[in-house]
């Protein structure tokens, strides 16, 4: 079977599962007693193992297998989580991630996993913590506990033998390349069921149905036929590799459990030395009850967790982003025609045409909102890997960090999401390494030992803001200036003139780092300038606020990059412009006498208990055919950027419309105050104003 065609699917799913594992591990670390989380982790690990084995990535499969063994003990309350187990599992996740990445880059997903596997195995054997000898005993007991018969089953077999029937213990091994294991196993059950009765199977039937077994499962069966016949019946099922049959007689049945235990123990020793990937999954088969007689305690968590798993699952398909781009372009063409049709319908005043156009407007409106949503991804997909990173970082720096995320459901265009991860990692590392003081310093400063790092995302107007706030020592203006002067970035005279914000922006200069010591995490001076250029390349910007001794906040502003937006069209003389509705607070009128002139020619107006600047767009754009200065009454649009407001003076409102954002062409690149252009219904081009640049003072 050619597996290459499944590779990208495998990678996508593997990454999803790794993410889920990471998330749930973090959650488990907070509530180590919650077995339902372990169940979820177990399932992810198990699926990952199955996928990897199918694709032939044996190192991946064997490592997940060992993790599964540990998790299995935990979910059965035979092992309780401790720091060592968490660290080992996190390490395993890291090497799993490395292997998946290697596969993504065309490698074979091989890695040196021996030491991790050994640590995992030592956990299973209970050797990692000598203070828990009781547990270790329990563990060995548990792993051999699996195939034993309980009294009820024993008595059934004994009675069957007394009644002259044949009884046997069968080990059925499926071929390694078997695709539908559950189906084959079912056929074996079916074949045996025709010949007699199955007393017990390991793993139990419902787990087998869900393919929760390796190549091998075992069955206790009684039959009226001869043993050879039932063996033949089982072997006839295709893709069955072998059927090992052990007759049960009145003699050996009494001591059966003891025999089995001895056999399993010796087998385990062999298995530990052999490649774990093909090792029979002894632990998975630890359930003692028959499917016919399920114990309440066992059944409950399984059922509950399964229901939970279903709730979390999103039914999705993966689509090439290029196709979405094509869809978007087609839609924008359609919208231009729609506006034209609307104009035509108003001109022609034909009822049927108007009705049809109205329907078209509604349908295309719905279509548009769906296409838009397709491209939007919650920023959670970036944020969700941060808790783990912060945890590791805080641990390696020996700091205590309370990491809080809010606004993870804020949505951003997919293209921005793909790029924003690295800059945010830089900023977070910066906050924890440079921003937050060491624990000793914090105590000395009278602060809580645990520092808090907030990661916030929210939308404002056409932009998404991401804030990284720490409550650390803040930026020391003098230190920054000293360093900048030393590096020759500016002179002492210049330094005196800079505002605090300008000083903080020096941090983003290339080759600048204020950390006294270069550490592993940051301080090589390559961080922040890269962050700024990356964010700038996404059309965003980053600013810093800081209070010495209280903390620092980095604010990253990113465009939503919506290519279709609702906008207000207005006129300046004979020129038409559009402004995105999302940044408009309201529109209104001011009379000349309400405009106050502040020194330096800045004009301000009163707006709801505050005074806001009045921006003359016609002056900024050097409009040849209109100026608002002499108007008795001026139409104004109140716009907002974050918390700041401003009014812009316009000539006349045209109305609200859906417009398609088009770039101005690569020759012009970015023009100050303008975010792009759109084509109006009459075929003319109108420029779209970027309100955010107008508010910047």
């Amino acid at each position: 079977m050619d597996l290459n065609q499944y590779l990208s699917m495998f990678l996508d799913e593997a990454n999803d599962h790794l993410q889920a594992l990471n998330d749930n591990m973090m959650e488990l670390e907070n509530q180590p007693e919650d077995v339902s989380i372990v169940q979820v982790i177990f399932r992810s690990a198990h699926t990952l193992k199955g996928m990897s084995a199918t694709m032939g990535f044996e190192d991946l499969a064997s490592l997940t297998h060992e993790m599964e063994n540990v998790l299995d003990l935990v979910r059965n309350h035979q092992l309780s989580m401790d720091d060592f187990i968490f660290d080992t599992l996190f390490k395993s996740l890291d090497s799993l991630e490395a292997m998946v990445e290697d596969i993504a880059n065309g490698g074979e997903g091989k890695a040196e996993i021996k030491s991790i596997v050994e640590s995992l195995q030592s956990i299973v054997k209970g050797e990692h913590n000598k203070e828990q000898p009781a547990e270790s005993q329990e563990t060995t007991a548990a792993s051999s506990h699996d195939e034993r018969l309980d009294e009820f089953q024993l008595s059934i077999i004994e009675q069957s033998i007394e009644a002259g029937m044949q009884a046997a213990y069968m080990k059925v091994t499926l071929r390694e390349d078997c695709v539908l294991k559950a189906a084959r196993a079912y056929m074996v059950f079916q074949a045996l069921g025709e010949q007699g009765e199955i007393v017990k199977s390991t793993p139990p039937a419902h787990e087998i149905e869900q393919e929760q077994f390796e190549q091998t499962f075992s069955i206790y069966a009684v039959t009226t036929q001869t043993l050879e016949e039932i063996q033949k019946a089982a072997e006839q099922v295709s893709e069955v590799d072998s059927v090992v049959l052990q007759p049960l007689t009145a003699d050996n049945i009494k001591d059966w459990n003891k025999l089995l235990q001895a056999a399993t123990a010796s087998k385990e020793e062999v298995a530990a030395a052999a490649a774990p990937a093909i090792e029979k999954k002894a632990d998975d088969a630890r359930v003692t009850e028959t499917p016919a007689k399920p114990s309440e305690t066992k059944k409950k968590p399984t059922g509950g967790a399964a229901a939970q798993g279903k709730g979390q699952q999103h039914r999705t398909i993966r689509v090439d982003i290029d196709r979405l781009d094509v869809l978007m372009n087609l839609l924008s063409e359609l919208l231009i025609d729609r506006v034209r049709l609307e104009d035509l319908a108003t001109e022609l005043k034909s009822n049927t045409l108007t009705e049809t156009v109205e329907h078209l407007v509604r349908v295309s409106g719905d279509l548009q909102s769906i296409v838009l949503k397709l491209r939007m991804v919650p920023i959670d997909t970036v944020f969700n890997r941060f808790p783990r990173m912060v945890r590791d970082l805080a641990k390696s720096l020996d700091k205590k960090v309370d990491f809080q995320i809010s606004g993870a459901d804020t949505e951003l265009d997919r293209t921005v999401i793909d790029e924003i991860g690295d800059p945010l990692v830089h900023l977070l590392r910066n906050a924890i390494d440079h921003g937050q003081e060491s624990t000793a310093e914090r105590i000395e400063a009278g602060k809580l030992e645990t520092g808090t790092v907030h990661l916030r995302a929210y939308q404002s107007g056409n932009h998404v803001f991401i804030e990284i706030e720490d409550d650390g020592k803040g930026i020391n203006r003098d230190n920054v200036l000293k360093k900048a002067i030393k590096n020759g970035m500016l002179t002492e005279d210049q330094a005196k003139l800079l505002s605090d914000e300008q000083v903080y922006m020096l941090l983003f200069g290339s080759g600048f780092s204020t950390a006294e010591q270069v550490s592993d995490i940051s301080g090589r001076g390559v961080g922040l300038d890269v962050v700024r250029s990356k964010i700038a390349s996404l059309g965003g910007e980053v600013v810093v606020k800081s209070t010495l001794g209280k903390g620092t906040t980095f604010i990253v502003q990113l465009p939503l990059t919506l290519s279709i937006l609702s906008a207000m069209l207005f006129r300046l003389g004979d020129e038409k412009y559009a402004i995105p509705l999302t940044s408009i607070v309201e529109t209104g009128l001011v009379t000349k006498k309400d405009i106050r002139n502040i020194h330096g020619g800045i004009r301000m107006i009163n707006y709801r208990d505050s005074v806001i600047p009045l921006v003359s767009l016609s002056a900024i754009f050097e409009c040849p055919s209109y100026t608002d200065v002499d108007e008795e009454e001026t139409e104004i649009i109140i716009i907002r950027k974050g918390e700041r407001l401003a009014a812009i003076a316009v000539d006349d409102f045209i109305g609200q419309n859906e417009i398609v954002l088009k770039p101005l062409g690569s020759y012009l690149g970015t023009v100050q105050g303008i975010s792009g252009a759109t084509i109006l219904g009459d075929g003319q081009v109108a420029l779209i104003i970027d309100p955010n640049t107008l508010i910047q003072s």
Binding site: K576, E622, K662, L664, G665, Y667, I674, A677, I679, V685
Partner: protein
């Protein structure tokens, strides 16, 4: 052996210029241009070219030549260099000719007021007909614009 090239011929301030035909996307009649504020003064604005917004440059303004008034002969030549698409406003464009590559001679310092680095060369078509070939990538280079404007003021 020298290769034959197809050249679009256009007129600008009474001189004849040429651009390789494979760089030219279309030639359009004059159409409404939306002014773009806060950009170079030789950029007339942007046009709607069948759904795509394309910037338009006044080529005479780019070279600091005197500006002609638009007539019904005025054309916008849409050229494409790499990913970049831009329109040139020219006085007229009505010919495509073949010339041999070895007929192109290096341009003297200044031809018709345009500096040599913007020119690929000069081709003599007949005794009284000179064709000035533009070096498009130099014409569209933006980092030199500031210097250029300073020189020509």
């Amino acid at each position: 052996m020298s290769e034959e090239m197809k050249i679009v011929v256009f007129k600008l301030a009474h001189e004849e210029y040429g651009i390789e035909v494979d760089k030219v996307k279309t030639i359009e009649r004059m159409m409404p241009i939306t002014r773009v504020p806060k950009t170079y003064n030789f950029i007339k604005g942007v046009i709607n070219l069948r759904g795509v917004v394309v910037p338009v440059m006044e080529l005479s303004g780019r070279f600091g030549l005197s500006q002609e008034t638009y007539t019904d002969q005025t054309r916008i030549i849409i050229v494409q260099v790499g990913e970049m698409e831009i329109g040139f406003i020219v006085d007229s464009a009505n010919d495509v000719i073949d010339i041999l590559e070895d007929k192109i001679e290096p341009a003297p310092e200044v031809v018709g007021g345009i500096q040599a680095r913007y020119l690929r060369g000069v081709a003599k078509i007949s005794e009284e007909r000179l064709l000035i070939l533009l070096n498009l990538s130099e014409v569209l280079r933006k980092d030199e614009i500031v210097n250029l404007e300073q020189l020509e003021v």
